[in-house]
Symmetry: C2
Subunit: 352 residues, 2 copies
């Protein structure tokens, strides 16, 4: 049987509650579609940090290196600053494994509650493709004249040709697999006049290589407005690290799916393992009560299977979620129900 | 009588149609409230550029310098690149006159169509305060290894203590004049780790000086989501140049007012003239037809009067707009009516 080695990192807070349900559904899909998942669990988290002073052990990346994928819950906990928790676990994995694509579907699921008036599932169904390794999240910067009136900080945004071209190419390739075949570029070349005009230039060059793909581009300010006013305009939206970050929270928000949205951090060449995680964080306010919604984790599992080549199983999970939501399966509190985390996981595992 | 010198720059496209209507209403308000406006009109625009090779004459800034305010229509036209039109007129005025506050009300007007479900005027009524001179719109950057695989571009974001503190102070002072007295900070210190933690640090320091003001802060990604999901959370939202740019388009979009939203570029110390302009651009697709909506321009006129100290007149214009919209006065096409630009201007001038 086909066999995949999965590194599982539940992480913090509700991550510990959603990952078991994600695994429950993955396990059901594996049995039904005839493949095996070999799981190795790592307890790396803010707990570990408070005990050992490190988010992951020194050889953490080495241990993950030979897995086929990483299945992550959530990282972050009050009392541990972000530059420790995120920059000690999440970001090193994204960068160390060159997971240069951050992919997030924005899809109005049947029965989900969009904040928009008069929008149905046919109106919101697109992908945000975010550059995940460079851009505005750079490690070049500093502070000068500290503590004086002349004090200033600066930070460089960096776009390399390699980094820009490969993310654009991914977006166009993705568009080629879709019905509408359209790519929208997020820019701000009218205000950010060194990096963004370069982005536009590379986008135009890449577009020439895909004559079958329709393209357009908007400055990020008006693009955010269009997400709210015309979500039906979009098919594949590609942006830099920061712009992609913004759009991939705003997209699920307009789709009413921010609590259940999945995400994938992908190294398309499979030179390194890719990582799959729900968009929601560790949710300290509800952690420990087993009332959180596991659908984001389960949907992330579907993205993982698709990446591993198990497309039929991936589609089965997404359909199961859609059916579950449409037909009023057990719901957690955030979706207006009373069910617990485990109830939802079990219900989905049964119908997958 | 109190007298103000106003430099009028209609600029491009529909700017030429909206400014006369803005002036019509300002003129009515001046008569009613007993002050005088001394107007000087400048035809600086992309037309001028195509004739003279310059967006404004060499001594342009000098000519504007002694006015009390600048009343601008729109800048930009197809065929003239943004780095020429915007960076030859709009941006030099903002920077040259140290208009470091960009202020935009986000307000659901009665009868306006918000794309959000179940939201009324009481739910959306806040200000975005945007830093308007530094941050991500910097002039430090460049390209290296041009035309090779190693090619990259970089651009520095810069936050100075002076620039950061004065915009934060403005936001807190504005909050002190409002009922809710709340300031929300837009950050991204978990990803952009040199500049944004500094922003947070200065925000915390400023907050200490305003114990009567409630504060919170969100990363820009989730903040954009909250604008859509919970617009009622906000009172005054303060952000860097880029974050403020994004939020001040998204805010009017959720309020359904992007076509009628005003903005102010303010030098609060009045060392230099401030500039008032609608958020919409030059709209080449409808320019020349006299069907565009002049309300954004007229509302910008109200912000100008408030800045000049004519608060009663400013309030009268905003009330006139609200009443006009609530009671179904003549509407342009974008608001579902048939009226021309001039009809709307005349109707508002009558009731101000
Ligand atoms: C035209 C552009 C440079 C400008 C900006 O980003 O400042 C515009 O979007 C605005 O918000 O006034
Ligand atoms: C936690 C944070 C650093 C992260 C990011 O900005 O990349 C998050 O917002 C995300 O989108 O995964």
């Amino acid at each position: 049987a086909r066999k995949y080695r999965i590194a599982v990192i539940p992480g913090d807070g509700i991550g510990k509650e959603t990952t078991p349900e994600g695994l429950r559904v993955l396990d059901a899909a594996a049995r039904r579609f005839g493949f095996e998942l070999e799981l190795t669990e790592y307890d790396w988290s803010c707990d570990t940090y408070q005990k050992t002073g490190r988010m992951m052990p020194d050889d953490g990346m080495d241990r993950l290196k030979d897995s086929d994928s990483i299945f992550l819950g959530a990282v972050g906990w009050p009392g541990v600053p972000d530059h420790v928790s995120l920059w000690g676990l999440l970001i090193p994995i994204r960068r160390g494994f060159d997971q240069y694509v951050n992919l997030r579907p924005c899809k109005l699921m049947p029965g989900a509650k969009t904040p928009l008036a008069n929008r149905g599932p046919e109106d919101i169904d697109f992908y945000v493709v975010r550059e995940n390794t460079e851009g505005e999240y750079s490690s070049v910067g500093g502070r000068m004249f500290e503590g004086t009136d002349r004090e200033f900080v600066s930070q460089q945004s960096v776009l390399t040709r390699t980094g820009t071209d490969r993310i654009l190419k991914y977006a166009f390739e993705l568009a080629m697999t879709r019905k509408r075949r359209k790519v929208t570029s997020a820019t701000k070349s009218n205000g950010i006049t060194f990096t963004m005009p370069y982005w536009d230039e590379r986008f135009a060059a890449m577009a020439k290589q895909y004559p079958d793909v329709t393209t357009d581009q908007f400055h990020i300010d008006i693009l955010c407005a269009h997400f709210v006013q015309h979500p039906d305009w979009f098919d594949v939206v590609v942006g830099s690290n920061l712009f992609g970050d913004i759009l991939s929270d705003l997209g699920p928000a307009v789709a009413g799916s921010i609590g259940i949205a999945p995400s994938a951090n992908i190294n398309p060449e499979k030179a390194f393992p890719s990582m799959f995680e729900p968009v929601h964080g560790s949710a300290p306010d509800i952690a420990g009560k087993w009332i959180c919604n596991p659908i984001g984790q389960i949907w992330s599992g579907a993205m993982m299977l698709e990446h591993l080549g198990e497309k039929a199983a991936a589609d089965a999970i997404v359909s199961a979620i859609e059916k579950h939501l449409a037909e009023g399966g057990p719901r957690t509190r955030d979706m207006g129900g009373n069910a617990g985390t485990v109830d939802v996981g079990k219900a989905l595992a049964e119908v997958v």
